[in-house]
Symmetry: C2
Subunit: 243 residues, 2 copies
DNA sequence: TTTTCACTCCCCAGAAATGGTGAGGTGTAA
DNA sequence: TTACACCTCACCATTTCTGGGGAGTGAAAA
């Protein structure tokens, strides 16, 4: 194997490679280099797509990756759910593993080679883009605590660069989404997201319900939504409105 | 002036202060310490709320801050507009200053003491939270290019910590951890958020539409939502579902 | 200057969602 | 064993939403 002769790369070098990366392969290589550098089991970056589809790179086994996708584990994985509500990186131990589904998920993950320890950095981009950068290892709690404490800052930066590159490489993830809503449309969709009925919204905005409908429909059109609920969901997950 | 006797603090020290900060004043102090440390004119962190309301800390003059708020410059400021669509930090020179409104805004900003150079880091948190960390200075282009190149990584990290603290201090952004939804409820709400009608959802889940309604209603009850759209919006912004 | 776009208003009829109530089966946890 | 939460199904009448038209203003951009 050629890899035997590749010397362990210093972090600075890996970071620079990352900043200059020009394709997914370079990112994949970076995950492997990071594993080497830190001497840990896994380094993974993955983009959590709005459709539940995913994308990314990392050192998890193909079998596990396939299984994860096939069984749609995004909807179960406490790491995803937990990070989605957080801003700061989090140790897996601090997540909520209490549900039955989560427990069996965890057992299975370890079976497939994922470490018993993990640390994940949530990352968010424009238009509601969301991704995770995760490091995982098999070891005891104290070793892991020391390790994460020592490298937490680097991990945030690395996560940032991974996501930057992913956004660069994947321009087709946000083109259609770019359509911005007009102020009135934002008002309308926001109020609907707050639970008001059309009548109430029209009243609140002091416009006729007919006018309101025009806004909702044009917003729906811009967002490519099939109905009001869909429009609200899209506006929310793209960060166009905040409730 | 007392500030004469405060020695310039090393970055490491400022970062640690920041990580341990327990109030807005500490953040304010950090912006000032950073100015000192780097020898630049301004360091500003500010949270940009959807409603245009804002919040933050920094070294801009009070007059400028008041004016900015009063005239609702969030809707004009090319820095905000540009960063909102970007993930990576950006130099102000690369933004779109072409509109008339932007030009007069820029002139006015400089008049009020903002530097002619600037570098802003966009930051995003859960629930569509958005904030900016900005450094600004008056100098020529090459000096600024060298300076930003030298410190870009630190700036990303500092921005991260500022935002982490701001999120901590803002309690009303994460209080209501509502009841968890049952798996079927999650499915139902998720599919609704993806734009399916009730009939389609029932079909997809292979249950009767009546049953589906029970899920939707119980989910709505758990989420304290007034209607389906509201329930979807709440589930989304609480991170209970991922669309 | 012309065009484009946001904003406002109006009608109608059919499709979809809602609110209330009820009932039976399963499994887990106290 | 007894709760309790989850999953499944049903009917009623009413409210709300949706899809299809058309039309005029003013401001800003091309």
């Amino acid at each position: 194997m050629v890899s035997v002769i590749t010397a362990m790369q210093p972090l600075e070098h890996i970071m620079e490679e990352l900043e200059q990366a020009e394709g997914l392969e370079a990112l994949q290589a970076a995950t492997e280099a990071l594993c080497d550098h830190y001497g840990i089991d896994h380094v993974v970056y993955h983009w959590v797509d709005s459709v539940g589809g995913q994308y990314g790179c990392g050192t998890y086994s193909d079998v596990w990756r396939a299984r994860y996708l096939e069984l749609n584990y995004v909807r179960v994985d406490p790491v995803i759910l937990g990070c989605f509500q957080r801003f700061h990186p989090v140790d897996w131990k601090r997540l909520d593993w209490s549900s039955k589904a989560a427990k069996s998920f965890q057992a299975e993950a370890i079976e497939y080679g994922v470490g018993n320890q993990g640390y994940s950095v949530p990352i968010r981009g424009p238009n509601g883009q969301f991704a995770l950068f995760t490091v995982s290892h098999s070891c005891n709690d104290t070793w892991w605590a020391d390790w994460t404490e020592a490298h937490r800052r680097d991990l945030i930066l690395i996560a940032h660069y991974f996501n930057q590159k992913a956004l660069e490489f994947e321009p087709d993830r946000k083109p259609e989404q770019s359509q911005a809503l007009s102020p009135r449309e934002v008002d309308s969709i926001t109020l609907l997201a707050m639970g008001y009925s059309r009548a109430q919204v029209a009243d609140t905005l002091s416009i006729s319900e007919h006018t309101l409908r025009v806004y909702i429909e044009s917003a729906r059109f811009k967002l490519g939504a099939m109905n009001t609920t869909h429009a609200v969901a899209r506006a929310l997950s793209r960060g166009l409105i905040v409730v």
